[in-house]
């Protein structure tokens, strides 16, 4: 038999100033199963809570109504009060008579009092149906998976490992390093990018707690926080990295030369290759789509049609440790993890949609990232900036900002954030490379919000003599050896035409290819551009709506290096905090299946947004639904869809809600 205690809070005058408390108490006493109704000046204060505790014990209450503020405010507080009186904390129901009564009906005290009574009446009807609920404990696999080996992933992995937990880092390219490895210098300090990144890469590869998996991809994810199972595909490297010593003879002697992805097509690499000199691991993979021996094998396998390709195998012949492994195939491994951090980063916008800028037809229109490779001492030109058309040194250079950013028409309305600064950096660097260079930067707004950014922008004007032209160019075309940029100087309100030797398009950031597919695999949300969506943009920037999966860096939105590093560390801190516990407590307000009623139509399985409902087969062969308590978030979507009412939501059961409605008419 339920014994309900009603505690009406004055909240100073917040409630009592409008609602007639004695009248409410009198009415409450007469409600079904109510054994006591008392008031309190401030229920949430320590004396207030103490009086609730005492009343529970004294009157042997087993259900409690606190008629006060919104449950969003103090539900947790009063649950603790119940617990301290030895009562199950879930036997509490709050009647919101402040936010939804006294504060909004202060104009009519009589009406407010009546409404308060009815709200309490409904709460009483509901609380009678409350049952004790118990949180559950689940174990944690204290091992983290980091997806993506750019600066964000590297930082995350190092921080988690340094906290003492095991990490697996999966990178789909043959080397970690990501976009940062391609950069020459970083703004606004002009540090050499490789010089600050490579030590971290080496640290990572040598860390005893970190297992590095390059040339590998995450294929499938199942499970839940603390207990994920992840299928990782190891692509065939055709090189046994345990035997390989990274001597380099194979990639020096390989006869097949192809455009280097790392150098964005500006330089060449071989078919067996490491992407760049400081690659980690410093061991090669064979690119099968270009390898001559592979082509030979295909030729043999497809019936020897056409010309016979050379049966090369030079790498195999020269390898001192016999590390070339032609029989190596791609392999799928399943590993267990407690958490997953997504740090898949970005790629630069493909400007071939900008036909008015020549869509890749002009050799001397390049992207900012290509210029980085040209300026880098380890780049394809050894750090000399030359025109691709004729090898001459450009003397006038125009930069065009916001290519693939702030452009609704191309489906990229967002600001890519880093372009303003990197164009300034590149202009300064070009001036350093060659004092005769004159740079023009076409911009819409210079966005220099960041530490030392504005100063850096001024430095480009003061020291490098850059001419900033406010206006987005409309066309780039060739006239003889020159490129003509047509723009408007919007500050003067007049069209401008500048003939230049080189045009650099500051292409914006977009999520790495395949980010959407990965997000679907992980069951985390992504936006229309395929950027990952954080749980809360302000307060939970590295969490996702799926517990135990975190996001960091440029896969969430345009970020510069320091922000990526900070986010990587933030995600690592979240992981470490989780791993510092031995078990996880799960919320008991979740969906449960009454298997006897379930008819096995499995509509609930289809509509659950969290894949928290699965099905089982009973002994007599029936299909029935079963919820996973760790995945269920308690939204109740399945319950409303269930015709036989075989699934119910603890804390918001059909009985509770129906009685709450009916309570209004008691």
């Amino acid at each position: 038999m339920a014994r309900v205690g009603v505690f009406v809070c004055h909240c100073g005058t917040n409630i009592a100033g409008v609602v007639n408390i004695p009248e409410v108490l009198e009415a409450a006493e007469k409600m079904p199963m109510v054994v006591s109704a008392t008031d309190n000046k401030y229920s949430c204060s320590e004396p207030g809570q103490a009086s609730i505790r005492e009343a529970i014990i004294e009157n042997n209450l087993n259900r409690v109504i606190v008629a006060a503020c919104s449950p969003r405010m103090h539900e947790i507080t009063f649950r603790r009060a119940l617990a301290s009186a030895g009562l199950n904390p879930y036997l509490l129901e709050m009647a919101n008579i402040r936010e939804q009564c006294s504060w909004v009906h202060s104009d009519n005290k009589e009406i407010a009092t009546n409404k308060a009574i009815e709200i309490i009446k409904m709460a009483v009807a509901k609380v009678i149906r409350h049952e004790p609920l118990y949180p559950r404990q689940v174990g944690i696999t204290k091992r983290a998976l980091v997806i993506g080996g750019g600066i964000t992933g590297i930082q995350t992995a190092l921080d988690i490992a340094n906290a003492g937990y095991g990490v697996v880092l999966v990178e789909r390219e043959p080397s970690i390093g990501g976009r940062m490895a391609q950069l020459d210098k970083t703004f606004p300090t002009l540090d050499c990018s490789a010089c600050i990144l490579t030590p971290k890469m080496v640290d990572l590869s040598q860390h005893p707690k970190i297992k590095l998996m390059t040339y590998a991809e995450v294929k499938k994810v199942t499970g839940f926080i603390g207990n994920f199972e992840v299928e990782i595909l190891h692509k065939a490297k055709k090189v046994d990295h345990l035997k390989c010593i990274g001597c380099g003879i194979c990639w020096q002697k390989c006869p097949e030369k192809v455009p280097s992805e790392f150098d964005l097509g500006l330089g060449k690499r071989t078919a067996i290759y490491i992407p760049f000199a400081q690659a980690v691991p410093p061991k090669p993979v064979i690119d099968l789509s270009h390898c001559r021996y592979t082509k030979y094998l295909t030729w043999v396998a497809t019936g020897q049609e056409g010309k016979k390709p050379p049966e090369c195998r030079i790498c195999e012949k020269l390898c001192p440790t016999a590390a070339i492994a032609w029989d190596q195939e791609e392999q799928l491994f399943t590993e267990k993890f407690g958490t997953i951090v997504v740090a898949t980063g970005y790629q630069t916008y493909d400007y071939s949609h900008y036909k008015e800028y020549g869509s890749r037809d002009f050799a001397d229109v390049i992207t900012g990232l290509q210029l980085e490779r040209l300026m880098s001492a380890s780049g394809p030109t050894g750090g000399e900036v030359t025109r691709l058309s004729d090898g001459s040194h450009p003397k006038t250079v125009a930069f065009v900002c916001c290519v693939g950013s702030r452009d609704q028409q191309r489906g990229r309305p967002y600001c890519s954030k880093v372009c303003c600064m990197y164009t300034a950096k590149q202009a300064i660097m070009l001036k350093e490379h060659d004092p005769e260079v004159q740079c023009y930067i076409f911009y819409i707004d210079v966005r220099a919000g960041g530490k030392d950014f504005e100063e850096f922008y001024l430095r480009a004007i003061d020291e490098a003599g850059v001419i900033y032209i406010k206006g987005r160019p409309s066309k780039i075309y060739q006239d003889g050896k020159k490129l003509i940029v047509l723009g408007e100087d919007t500050l003067m309100g007049r069209p401008v035409e500048i003939p230049v030797d080189l045009v650099v398009l500051a292409t914006g950031m977009e999520p790495s290819a395949g980010a959407d597919e990965l997000a679907r695999n992980l069951n985390i949300s992504y936006d229309t551009y395929n950027f990952m969506v954080e749980a809360h943009p302000k307060l939970r920037p590295v969490e996702t709506h799926t517990d135990g999966i975190f996001v960091a860096g440029a896969c969430v939105g345009p970020r510069d290096i320091p922000e990526c590093v900070a986010q990587g560390s933030a995600a690592a801190a979240k992981v470490a905090a989780l791993f510092s516990q031995d078990t996880l407590t799960t919320e008991p307000l979740i969906a449960v299946v009454n298997q006897a009623r379930c008819i096995g139509c499995l509509l609930c399985v289809t509509i659950c947004p969290f894949k928290a409902v699965d099905y089982q087969t009973t002994q007599d062969g029936r299909l029935i639904a079963a919820t996973n308590e760790s995945l269920c978030k308690g939204c109740g979507l399945c319950i409303a869809a269930c015709r036989p009412k075989a699934i119910d939501l603890r804390g918001f059961t059909n009985q509770q809600i129906l009685d709450e409605v009916a309570g209004l008419w008691l």
Binding site: I444, S474, K475, E488, G493, R494
Partner: protein, 191 residues
């Protein structure tokens, strides 16, 4: 240099709401990047430039806009609309400004453009088709530039490309009916 007027912005003006209704474009979307002007083949003879027209609309500089010749110089090549990163059809805005200007019988600073278009319409009204020589001659007469393009006339005549007699449609009444019904509709606001 003459002094400049101080601008008092008027965010909501009748002109702007007319332009927005007629063009279906949201003026406020423009973020003044200038790509329209940069690509406009005739921006160099415009004052204000297309971007400045958008700004003037945003600020509600009604008189300035109606005095300007920009929308009459614009010849609808639609380059601006095709390239606008904010997906504003600026050509439609220009068209709307023309319509308002025509309706209010405003006088642009450079009268010739508007004159040409008005003559074109009356030419159409009269013959149903365009009588190129007649249109050219009337324009030169009324616009007081008797020699414009005159040097081409002999060559054109020699090649049989101009005719002294207008091509008329057989039934010009039908054209006049269309004009009249439009006039009637515009007066009454309903068919």
């Amino acid at each position: 240099m003459p002094g400049v007027d101080v601008i008092t912005p008027k965010p909501i003006t009748e002109l702007r709401s007319w332009v927005e209704t007629l063009s279906g474009q949201k003026v406020a979307r423009c973020y003044q990047c200038g790509k329209c002007t940069a690509g406009c083949p005739v921006a160099y003879v415009m004052d204000p430039t297309p971007r400045q027209v958008m700004r003037a609309l945003q600020l509600g500089l009604e008189d300035e806009l109606l005095r300007s010749s920009t929308m009459w110089i614009c010849f609808y090549c639609m380059t601006c609309a095709a390239r606008c990163p904010r997906e504003i059809d600026i050509t439609k805005v220009m068209e709307a400004l023309r319509l308002v200007s025509a309706q209010r019988k405003a006088t642009p600073a450079q009268k010739d453009f508007k004159l040409f278009h008005n003559l074109f319409i009356s030419n159409l009204n009269r013959f149903g088709r365009i009588y190129e020589l007649g249109l050219g001659l009337t324009y030169n007469l009324l616009g007081k530039h008797p020699l414009s393009k005159a040097e081409l006339i002999p060559g054109m005549l020699a090649r049989g490309k101009l005719s002294f007699i207008p091509h008329r449609v057989k039934n010009t009444d039908r054209i006049r009916d269309i004009f009249n019904r439009i006039k009637a509709f515009e007066k009454q606001g309903k068919p």
